[in-house]
């Protein structure tokens, strides 16, 4: 089936440009096509009309790379739970619908162009401690340390984070707590992560604050919008880790 929709797309030339909605009409969109394929159609239409196509991030188009990032009708990744923008299909819309598309909005995610934002703040948080300091080649046999299955499974659930930033986009405080806690939690659950647990919790939170993200007020909007449905439990674990780290660190 084909539908016609009106799009109100946020256009902004750079981080310092003011930006505004621009209206586009797009017709004969197959309901089988994905939202991004509809955007491809629109862009090709714009190019053929001599207009500037809309810049947006996307890559794998199967919901795993975390690159796509559109705020559609008041929701990161649009209507539907547990999906990324690239997994949203046009069958979620009706003929004649008006669809508002905005970029992720957060001070820590400056807009590059149109719907494309700079998420290197996430990389910076990871660089502050989102790793185990083990050099290549120095690892012992993988089965030397058994890990409780329940812990391994929980760690996996935290590690499923794709770093898309929907949590920040959804949070009224633009907080990166779900993102940060997912990594802290993953490594806190595994024996391999214990040695550096104190430094990790303190440093990653400090970097998160330095990048200008807000604080968590436990609204749960992040979990509701997370395409990988990462739980608030990890934020609680980060809070515990951080408290223990604050109290026990020597300086």
């Amino acid at each position: 089936m084909d539908i016609n929709v009106t799009l109100k797309v946020w256009r902004q030339n750079g981080p310092n440009d003011k930006g505004d909605f621009k209206e586009y009409q797009i017709n004969k969109v197959s309901t089988d096509s994905s939202f991004l394929e509809m955007m491809d159609m629109l862009n090709n239409q714009l190019i053929e009309n001599g207009e500037d196509p809309i810049a947006f991030d996307h890559d794998c188009r199967e919901g795993i790379c975390g690159m796509c990032s559109m705020y559609i009708n008041g929701r990161p990744h649009g209507p539907g739970d547990g999906i990324t923008t690239c997994q949203l299909h046009m069958r979620s819309f009706k003929d004649g619908d008006t669809i508002y598309i905005e970029p992720w909005r957060a001070t820590a995610f400056p807009i590059i162009k149109d719907l494309m934002v700079d998420r290197t703040a996430f990389d910076k948080i990871m660089q502050a401690g989102g790793f185990v300091s083990v050099n290549t080649g120095s690892a012992q046999d993988a089965n030397n340390i058994p890990v409780r299955k329940e812990d391994a499974d929980e760690a996996f659930k935290a590690a499923a984070c794709i770093g898309c930033g929907a949590c920040v986009a959804a949070c009224k405080n633009a907080s990166a707590m779900l993102f940060t806690s997912a990594k802290v939690s993953q490594l806190a659950l595994l024996p391999q992560g214990q040695t550096e647990a104190t430094e990790r919790a303190l440093n990653m939170v400090a970097e998160m604050d330095a990048q200008g993200f807000g604080a968590c007020t436990n609204t749960g909007a992040c979990m509701a919008e997370c395409p990988k449905e990462i739980s608030l439990e990890h934020i609680a674990r980060l809070n515990r880790e951080y408290m223990a780290a604050s109290l026990t660190s020597r300086d």
Binding site: W10, F21, Y71, N73, G74, R75, P76, Y100, E102, R105, A106, T107, A108, A170, K172, N173, A174, S175, M177, E199, L202, V205, A206, M208, D209, G212, F213, G214, A215, C216, T217, N218, T219, G220, A221, M223, A224, E225, L232, E233, I235, A236, R237, L238, N239, R240, E241, Y242, M243, A245, S246, S249, R250, D251
Partner: protein
């Protein structure tokens, strides 16, 4: 590495302070409520004695400082967090975020907090009016007892606009307390990292119960006074 000061002023540290003071204030509400119940007694002795005790006891004076500090910390940290959080999104969305699973009270905590602050100022004004402007809540200069119990009951049960105003302010204040607690109760536990799949549902349930029952009890007292006063 972070010093304790850095830890306490980080976004997570500030949330501990919010959580700890929040929990403290939650407990205080119960204490406050138990005192209020004595207002319901027709005989003012209990309430007046209680008020006198509150005024004179050293331990109470000490707890008052702690309580005041707790309020202050909770409010100041709240304001600072709100400022930080607003700065984290300098440009707002044109279409506001909406999701069924996100409760509006959780998003309105700072607004509800502001309402509570205004209520608190009015409430404290009333409180201090009697506590300090009158030399002794039970004794006036000429040696007659001031019946604080009677005064409070009168405030709520007097006819005309003034009585309605007092009731309305009080009711609105308690509604704000209720909504604030609706999210705040379980949120204190989350901020302190106290979350577990087995216990958290219970805490969340208890929090909602508390958020309804305690403010409702607070509000019920003046209404009971008003309607029982009118009855005779």
């Amino acid at each position: 590495m972070a010093s304790l000061k850095e830890s306490l002023t980080s976004s997570v540290g500030r949330k501990y302070v919010m959580g700890l003071t929040g929990l403290f204030l939650i407990v205080f509400l119960l204490v406050h409520l138990s005192g209020n119940f004595t207002l319901l007694l027709k005989d003012g002795t209990a309430f007046n004695t209680y008020a006198h005790f509150m005024k004179e006891n050293l331990l109470i004076k000490l707890s008052e400082v702690i309580l005041f500090g707790g309020f202050l910390l909770h409010i100041i940290q709240g304001l600072m967090l709100t400022a930080k959080n607003k700065a984290a999104r300098a440009v707002n969305y044109q279409v506001a975020h909406k999701h069924d699973k996100v409760d509006w009270t959780s998003k309105a905590m700072s607004a509800l907090g502001m309402i509570l602050l205004i209520f608190l100022i009015i409430h404290l004004y009333d409180f201090f009016r009697f506590k300090y402007f009158v030399a002794d809540p039970q004794m006036t200069a000429d040696g007659t007892m001031i019946d604080l119990h009677g005064i409070v009951r009168h405030e709520f049960s007097e006819g005309g606009l003034e009585g309605i105003f007092h009731l309305a302010v009080y009711t609105l204040g308690m509604a704000a307390v209720s909504f604030h607690l609706w999210h705040g109760f379980q949120s204190t536990f989350q901020s302190l990292g106290l979350r577990h799949p087995k216990y958290t549902p219970f805490i969340q349930g208890l929090g909602k119960l508390y958020a309804v029952v305690v403010p409702a009890a607070f509000v019920a007292i003046p209404y009971i006074i008003k309607f029982t006063a009118e009855a005779h």
